[in-house]
């Protein structure tokens, strides 16, 4: 079917593997996301804090550079302790807040437009399942969130390990997998509800408002419950309390939230499962009216 030959012809060329077909959706999704210059600028800004921390780590081990800016290495060594707390709170917590904004901005645009414009039958009439579709969209958020959370975290960890030596590495080895685990759990607990809300609301601004509303309502209700009944149960609906408890559990540190580890894991699993079920229910070619 060449352009000059306007006759219909079939296609008998090579095909891409079926199992990786969902990555087509991810690739197109990522390209659309980065088509926005405003988002690109924000995404670049997300690397500012890791760069600052990288600078601090570098200075800590470079007496000559410190002398150039008239700083005493002992002061800096005292001020910047590169340990589990550094990675868990100074780095990862800050990055997770930025990742929250990324999910809030990007998440709704991934599915709401497809559902509003009835694109699902087009996707699902091809060799693509509903799971593939959701996975494809989730990978977009996964790549973006990973790029600003555990990926730079591992880079910082590797640099610190090379600077701090074998002893530091042996003492803090748990930090590296913990950053990955917390980031992935956080990604699932934020992305799936965001996608589910976007799939049901079908309009980007409303989806963002509903998502923010759900987080704020949960936080307000949970905080009130904790204060009024003096019980940790309120933390179950406070997203950031659950994140803190999970993070403490994974990093093996003392958390700021008085909440059993199992309850935090259960709350996260329930949120992700419920969101996945709601999303899966909505992502279908046609609604069946019984």
């Amino acid at each position: 079917m060449a352009v000059y030959d306007h006759g219909y012809k079939g296609y008998d060329g090579p095909l891409m593997p079926a199992r990786s077909r969902f990555l087509v959706i991810s690739r197109y999704g990522l390209r659309d996301v980065f088509a926005s210059r405003l988002f690109l600028a924000f995404f670049a800004f997300c690397f500012a804090w890791p760069l600052v921390l990288l600078g601090a780590m570098y200075l800590r081990y470079n007496a000559e550079a410190l002398a150039l800016i008239n700083l005493d290495s002992a002061d800096l060594l005292e001020f910047v302790q590169v340990n589990t707390w550094f990675f868990q709170n100074l780095f990862l917590r800050a990055q997770l807040y930025l990742a929250f904004i990324v999910v809030l901005v990007v998440g709704p645009s991934l599915v709401s437009a497809d559902l509003r414009n009835r694109a699902m039958p087009l996707y699902l009439s091809r060799p693509l399942t509903r799971t593939d579709y959701v996975l494809g969209k989730l990978v977009v958020l996964g790549v973006l969130v990973s790029a600003i959370t555990w990926a730079p975290g591992l880079l910082l960890f590797a640099i610190q390990a090379s600077l701090g030596g074998r002893e530091w590495l042996l003492e803090h080895w748990r930090v590296a997998p913990s950053m990955v685990v917390v980031s992935v759990v956080w990604l699932l607990c934020m992305s799936l509800p965001m996608l589910a809300i976007a799939a049901w609301v079908k309009w980007k601004p409303w989806a963002r408002i509903v998502f923010m509303g759900a987080i704020l309502t949960g936080t307000a209700f949970g905080s009130f419950y904790k204060e009024f009944y003096d019980s940790w149960l309120g933390s179950l609906v406070v997203a950031f309390d659950v994140t803190d408890a999970l993070s403490a559990s994974v990093f093996g540190t003392q958390g700021t939230v008085q909440m059993p580890e199992a309850a935090a894991w259960l709350a996260a699993a329930a949120l992700a499962s419920l969101s996945a079920a709601l999303l899966y229910r909505r992502v279908r070619a046609f609604e069946v009216v019984k």
Partner: protein
């Protein structure tokens, strides 16, 4: 050599939504190049298409496309299928060519091949000049062609078209029907057209399945029907001399035709095998009779459709 499996093989297919039986015990095998699904609104045409595409799970029986089971081999089947939905369906915020390329890539084409095919199908459907425009700016007719473009971009061997001429003005409708016939005649893809417009189905389909209230009301092989109808002739005569008419009638009866006289100037004839229209003309010349009008009597699809609806409880 084994015979090719039918394009669509319905094996007691039933679909139920809650308490509502939408499709009920559909049976039959269809192998035409273009199969039409006809029926009044709510007859189950779109549900049948959606079930064949795997969107709905059969609650009874099953169906096979090219011999492959729609539930067990759904993914493999959908690799060979192109689908043009009835209602507007597109991905917002991207150009037409990018949309079609994405659809081709999701169907499995490598990125370069998908891009090439996307450009080609845009020219094929006649939207070449609009391929870089945002799909949201397309008119209704352009969106219909865009839906066709995405359905054929990956070169499917079976094309499902759901109400392809919906909302089109007459020239756009003719163009759409021409494209469907071209694809059919190329022999590269079998086509299933669902429509409530009899003329559209009549113009592009060889087999027609008439549905009513979720059941098959009738099946009609239009190609055979046309061939059969070609044997019925209606003739208006002008005799130059007295008795020429009866002489002509006797002459064509002598050829083996069954003849019925409507009036002195009009007769109906059924041609036996081996007798062609030129033999009738030759007899007319011999008998000094002028044939003023010769019509093939055709049973229209409308007749078949109305008959089917009347046969099914007599209600439309």
């Amino acid at each position: 050599m084994s015979e090719a499996p039918p394009v669509i093989d319905l094996d007691g297919l039933g679909v139920r939504f809650g308490r509502h039986q939408v499709l009920d015990d559909l049976r039959g095998a269809f192998s035409g190049r273009a199969i039409g699904l006809l029926g009044p609104n709510g007859a189950g045409k779109t549900t049948l298409l959606n079930t064949l595409l795997g969107f709905y799970r059969p609650t009874a029986g099953t169906a096979r496309l090219f011999g492959m089971d729609i539930t067990a081999q759904g993914r493999e089947l959908r690799r060979q299928v192109g689908y043009m939905p009835e209602r507007d369906a597109f991905i917002a915020g991207i150009s037409g060519v990018r949309f079609v390329r994405l659809m081709a890539e999701v169907s499995g084409l490598p990125p370069e091949a998908a891009l090439e095919r996307a450009h080609e199908v845009f020219f094929y459907v006649g939207l070449g000049e609009a391929r870089y425009r945002n799909v949201e700016t397309y008119s209704l007719g352009m969106k219909q062609l865009l839906k066709l473009a995405q359905a054929i971009a990956h070169g499917p061997s079976l094309l499902f078209l759901d109400e392809p001429t919906n909302g089109l003005d007459p020239p756009a409708r003719l163009r759409m029907l021409r494209l469907i016939r071209e694809i059919r005649d190329s022999g590269k893809a079998r086509i299933v057209v669902s429509s409530h417009l009899l003329r559209d189905v009549e113009e592009c389909c060889e087999e027609v399945l008439v549905l009513n209230r979720g059941r098959i009301a009738t099946y009609c092989n239009l190609a055979e029907e046309r061939r059969a109808n070609r044997r019925f002739l209606e003739l208006d005569l002008a005799a130059e001399r007295e008795g020429a008419g009866s002489g002509f009638r006797a002459a064509i009866e002598g050829l083996g035709c069954e003849v019925a006289v409507v009036n002195r100037r009009r007769i109906k004839a059924v041609l036996p095998p081996g007798v062609e229209v030129r033999h009738i003309y030759a007899s007319a010349i011999q008998q000094d009779v002028t044939i003023r009008r010769l019509d093939y009597k055709r049973t229209s699809l409308e007749d078949i459709f109305l008959q089917a609806m009347e046969g099914d409880d007599g209600r439309l």
